[in-house]
């Protein structure tokens, strides 16, 4: 092949593009040594290609330059003995990928932990609030039941006054005149000492009749208006302090009393 044939064959362009075979590369390099016109033509092609590439340039991110310079400096300082030696592949992509996935996994674990803690706190708060709400509901039901008794149009209130044994004590009785149901509000009785319990008596025909035991242990948060035994009639009511469970007839001291 003479130089004109070489130049017109297209092999120099393929060589510049890097798509020739090893054998062709050696052939072209041989021609470059022997024929200055071939070398000149190749340079011409290469400059054309470079100009094309420059006119199609895309500016990379501004921070890439410092990254590139940093990574070659690292190579420079970390492994000076390797310069001129074996190729050190600094950025194997699978390594970056692995590092990235480990980082992601860590991040995700941390995030999970944070969210789990938040979830637990939220769960605890929710449980507390639910308990509070239930307590309020209970309390509200109790108050509503109390108010029902107080507001009932058949309800006859009887105030029981403190007696010498407990001058500051007081209690209220609500007697439903239509049904005979009897309720007591013991809120203003002193706490019963342990082992003792208040007992309500209805005075019927001049005799005290057991009307039931009054709960003053704080079952809820408040003494509730309590339903006692029903009476068709009664002249008066009294509360005495008796042994736990009560007595058939009053034995203990009388704390309060009131007439219908």
């Amino acid at each position: 092949m003479d130089t004109r044939e070489i130049i017109s064959s297209g092999i120099l362009e393929m060589y510049a593009m890097g798509i020739t075979t090893e054998a062709e590369n050696l052939q072209v390099q041989e021609w470059l040594r022997i024929y200055p016109e071939v070398a000149a033509e190749l340079s011409h092609i290469e400059i054309d290609m470079e100009n094309f590439a420059q006119s199609n340039a895309l500016t990379p991110s501004p921070d890439l330059k410092s990254k590139v310079l940093r990574s070659v400096q690292q190579v420079h300082f970390a492994a000076p003995e390797k310069i001129g030696g074996k190729v050190v592949n600094m950025l194997p992509f699978w390594k970056k990928l692995a590092a990235a996935s480990v980082l992601l996994l860590l991040l995700s674990a941390v995030t999970n932990l944070v969210f789990f803690n938040k979830y637990q706190t939220a769960q605890k708060t929710l449980t507390e609030k639910e308990e509070q709400l239930l307590a309020i509901e209970d309390s509200k039901k109790g108050i509503e039941a109390d108010m029902e008794v107080v507001h009932n149009k058949y309800s006859v209130p009887v105030a029981l006054q403190g007696l010498p044994a407990a001058p500051d004590a007081a209690a209220k009785i609500f007697w439903m005149k239509n049904t005979g149901e009897l309720y007591v509000d013991p809120s203003n009785l002193p706490d019963a000492p342990s082992g003792k319990q208040y007992q309500l008596w209805a005075i019927v025909d001049g005799k005290p009749v057991d009307a039931g035991m009054i709960l003053t242990t704080k079952k809820g948060n408040n003494y509730r208006i309590q339903k006692m035994k029903s009476f068709g009639k009664a002249e008066a009511f009294a509360i005495t302090l008796e042994k736990e469970g009560g007595n058939p007839t009053p034995e203990g001291e009388m704390y309060v009393m009131g007439k219908m």
Binding site: L32, E46, L58, V72, F93, W94
Partner: protein, 183 residues
């Protein structure tokens, strides 16, 4: 437009051989955009293409003693190094998804003409011209240049004699050269 206003190409090559960082910075300033243009046209993901570009510069730095100016100009060496690195990355298993150029199990026979519709593909200005080639000519140039297949691989995969591959490639190049001189 080799913008060697500060160094001549010979000076630059000499300094890079001596691992001169200022010269390397200059090389970056002059060629990063052009190389990025090449890589970006082969890779969809901007981050990945910049990673490849970074690795390419590291390779240029580390392997500079392999550059032989009697075999070609500096830019030819670095652009082909960068292009080959991009092909290697695209072929490596982890990055199939990012490939603009799907090599489908790296098989030549699965070649699909992805470039014909993509005006963005204008690596070193070739793609515009490539679209004007006959399909069989274009295919050979694509496979060799963008996919990195050797002539031998192309010959085997397409079941075309090696001589025919060479003839078609050259006639494609001659066509391209004509077009370039016309434009």
């Amino acid at each position: 437009m080799p913008q060697l206003s500060k160094y001549t190409e010979d000076e630059l090559v000499a300094l890079l051989r001596l691992k001169d960082e200022a010269a390397f910075g200059y090389l970056y300033d002059n060629y990063a955009g052009a190389l990025n243009g090449v890589v970006s046209r082969m890779v969809d993901d901007q981050q990945l293409s910049e990673d490849i570009l970074q690795e390419a510069f590291v390779k240029i730095w580390n392997n500079f003693e392999h550059y032989d100016h009697t075999k070609g100009r500096l830019f030819t060496w670095i652009v082909n190094l960068t292009r080959n690195l991009t092909i290697d990355v695209l072929r490596s298993k982890g990055f199939k998804k990012q490939q603009k150029i799907s090599t489908d199990e790296n098989s030549v026979s699965n070649y699909h003409d992805k470039f014909s519709t993509s005006e963005k593909f204008d690596t070193i200005g070739l793609q515009k011209q490539l679209t004007l080639l006959k399909p069989d000519q274009k295919q050979l140039i694509d496979l060799a240049y963008y996919y990195g297949y050797t002539q031998d691989e192309i010959s085997k995969a397409l079941n075309i004699p090696l001589g025919t591959v060479k003839t078609r490639m050259r006639s494609a190049i001659i066509e391209l050269r004509k077009m370039m001189h016309e434009t």
